[in-house]
Amino acid sequence: MLRRARLPLASVLIGGVLAACSSGSGTPGPSSGVGGSGQVVNVQTSEFRFDPSSITLPAGKVTFHVRNVGSAEHEFEIFKGEEAVDEIEGLVPGLEKDLTVDLPAGTYSIECRLPGHLEQGMKATLTVTP
């Protein structure tokens, strides 16, 4: 079985560049439900839910650091009603991706709209206060 160690050199170089330039979004961990302007909210996806499933934020810029801890592919899509705000697609198991958005006050929902996922309850509420 292959061990974790050996990635192609180019990837290591890219990884090095990324590490050097990383904006320090922090390690993914137990999710926090509250953030401030410019802060980071950690969210985990699994089958079939978001953790946390309820988020409250002040209006402004926020970075969602989304990590898939499940075993299926997921998406992280922010909707205001039926209008798509922004999203992360292609979140395969183990993958972490950031999504930075500037959110005005209002009620949003976070959904995974892959076939069958939303139907099984993969939805979170996002309340942005003025």
Partner: protein
């Protein structure tokens, strides 16, 4: 590993299919000399994808959704335009054939035509290329992914390219009449899929409203399943399309397919079809 494999298969097929058909097409119309230009376009697209991907990640972290979605929608429509042009061009060429079919026809290709075909290959590869590069960078920089995910994605990409090569190999071997028929039909479905895809992307970008669910085959075949991934990559299959996406798909498919079928089973015959 498997989800990453299927994702890359899906994404890679969209470009590999177009490039494979394009390359076979050039060979069959006796324009093998244009192939190096196509490969140059593909390589340029790959280099550009890697460059853009790295620059994006190092500077702004990720492409803003609206920009990415709008660009994908535009790229999709461009591909539809060139593919449609290819279809009708093939049809005209076929009609002009007289006598027995050669192994290949020998057709003049204007500079503009070559540019359009190379452009199609370039746009198809760039569209998927940037997404793919960003995905691999995300895989590398995620703590929870290791060799299995990276390897799975790489294998998915390799298989997608392999399918493109296989399509090319098949396309240059079968008899010319069948090549035009099969290619024409496949391209019609691919183009229809791209119309629906572009509608989806413009909807996500907020350029057009695109809400609702026309039907939901998620219980039967999701595009994240193996067969679903193949169909999604080749023909733009979606399990849960919006009504507008279905309308767009049919609005392209039905008229174009009708014109081709009415013209006879093959895209060309010796006399025009009766009016």
């Amino acid at each position: 590993m498997v989800p990453a494999f299927l994702l890359m298969l899906r994404e890679g097929l969209e470009a590999a299919l177009i490039v494979g058909i394009l390359a076979a097409y050039l060979v069959r119309i006796g324009r093998r000399d244009a192939l190096p230009k196509v490969w140059a376009g593909v390589v340029a697209a790959l280099v550009l994808s890697v460059a853009v991907g790295i620059i994006v990640v190092v500077t702004i972290g990720d492409l803003p959704g609206e920009i990415q979605d709008t660009a994908e929608g535009v790229a999709g429509l461009l591909a539809v335009a060139v593919l449609t042009w290819m279809l009708f061009w093939m049809r005209r060429q076929g009609r002009a054939l007289k006598g027995e079919l050669e192994h290949n026809v020998d057709v003049a290709l204007t500079t503009g035509s070559t540019a359009a075909l190379v452009g199609l290959a370039f746009v198809a590869v760039v569209r998927e290329g940037i997404e793919t590069v960003l995905f691999f960078i995300a895989v590398i920089s995620s703590a929870g992914t290791g060799l299995p995910v990276f390897g799975g994605a790489l294998v998915g990409l390799a298989i997608a390219i392999g399918i493109g090569v296989a399509i090319f190999a098949y396309g240059v071997r079968i008899n010319l009449r069948r090549f035009f028929t099969v290619t024409g039909t496949v391209l019609i479905f691919v183009a229809a899929g791209l119309v629906a895809f572009s509608i989806h992307e413009f909807g996500e970008a907020g350029v057009i409203p695109n809400s609702g669910v026309a039907f939901n085959f998620g219980g039967i075949l999701s595009e994240t399943d193996p067969l679903g991934s193949l169909l999604a990559g080749l023909f733009g299959y979606r399990a849960k399309p919006t009504p507008l996406e279905v309308v767009g798909y049919l609005a392209y498919l039905v008229p174009v397919l009708t014109v081709f079928v009415l013209d006879g089973r093959v895209p060309f015959r010796r006399q025009p079809a009766p009016a």
